[in-house]
């Protein structure tokens, strides 16, 4: 390459692609990792539906002070149907998270009373 070469040749030589520095990966990835950390908003996004479900279960269950099956059965048909759906949703979750000035977790013991689990959630709020 000499100064006398035509412009396109000079440009082709001077503007060749280069390798990106390894630092670029960190700079792209680090902001992502920071935003991936669970934040309060994410906790609320997950916790609010769970809290609403727990409140509904408690509303039904509190018709019987002992949380007995008879109390559950005596609940209004619509509320009973709603609570059944919620219980079946809860069954699919091994860990139930709820929110109370942060996030508390409550694990439902295998074979435990589903209504009690719902009430426990509600009472943590």
């Amino acid at each position: 390459m000499t100064p006398a070469e035509p412009i396109p040749s000079l440009l082709g030589d001077s503007l060749r692609p280069v390798a990106a520095p390894a630092e670029l990966w960190d700079r792209v990835w680090q902001p992502r990792m920071q935003t991936e950390k669970p934040g309060l908003l994410q906790g609320f996004a997950f916790g609010l539906p769970v809290a609403a479900a727990a409140a509904l279960i408690c509303m039904v269950a509190l018709t019987d002070p002992q949380h007995s099956p008879s109390g559950f059965q005596a609940a209004a048909p619509v509320a009973k149907r709603n609570s059944s759906e919620i219980v079946s949703q809860l069954e699919r979750r091994e860990t139930i998270l709820t929110v109370s000035s942060g996030v508390k977790s409550a694990e439902r013991a295998p074979g435990g009373n589903k209504i009690d689990a719902g009430c426990a959630l509600c009472h943590t709020l």
């Binding site: 000079l10 503007l15 692609p17 990106a20 670029l24």
Partner: protein, 195 residues
């Protein structure tokens, strides 16, 4: 003698690239990592050749990939992925230029050095000529500079540059022609001084 086989990156064929993009759109970070590996050099090169500054190039490349990650849901496959990606990096370059609005007076510095004869004996002439050319490019208007970088760093055709920048091929030809004339004028000093 056969040249050693180069390591092939996943995503080089059109179908692999489509699959990678689809996986990215579903939030697959491994796919994004592969997409990053396949395009980081060209994105950084465009940014570096446009800005003339490694630090600014890193900023531009970072912005480009963050925009890519944020906007990949909007990619519908109407254009080629590379064309879409070039648009993102070109916009990042222009955004960065708007944000900084200050460029190092490389050419004046180099012209002074040529005129006074400083540094010529210690620096390889070819390296200096390249620096001089890059310094001259930094003085081109942004639209001409983008056309030059896409043409000479990426080897895009006039039609491809037109698609990326959203202008007619004739406009691209005109911009490149004006850029060539401007560079020729700026390099006259160097040519005269180095003889």
């Amino acid at each position: 003698m056969q040249a050693p086989a180069q390591e092939r990156k996943y995503g080089e064929t059109a179908s692999e690239l489509r699959e990678l993009v689809a996986r990215c759109q579903h939030g697959d970070y491994d796919a994004f990592a592969q997409l990053f590996a396949g395009h980081k050099d060209r994105i950084y090169s465009i940014a570096l050749r446009f800005s003339g500054d490694p630090t600014a190039a890193l900023d531009i490349a970072q912005d480009t990939f963050l925009k890519l990650l944020g906007q990949i849901q909007n990619f519908r496959g109407d254009a080629r992925f590379e064309t879409w990606l070039y648009r993102v990096v070109v916009n990042a370059c222009l955004d960065h230029r708007r944000a900084r609005r200050r460029w190092l007076p490389l050419i004046e510095d180099l012209v002074d050095r040529v005129r006074t004869g400083l540094g010529l004996e210690n620096v390889a002439e070819q390296t200096q000529l390249r620096q001089h050319v890059r310094g001259a490019i930094a003085h081109l208007p942004a639209d001409q500079r983008i056309a030059v970088v896409l043409r000479y760093t990426e080897g895009l055709s006039y039609e491809e540059i037109a698609e990326v920048t959203g202008v007619a091929s004739g406009t691209v030809a005109s911009r490149l022609n004006r850029a060539h004339h401007a560079l020729e004028g700026r390099l006259q000093d160097y040519k005269g001084g180095s003889r």
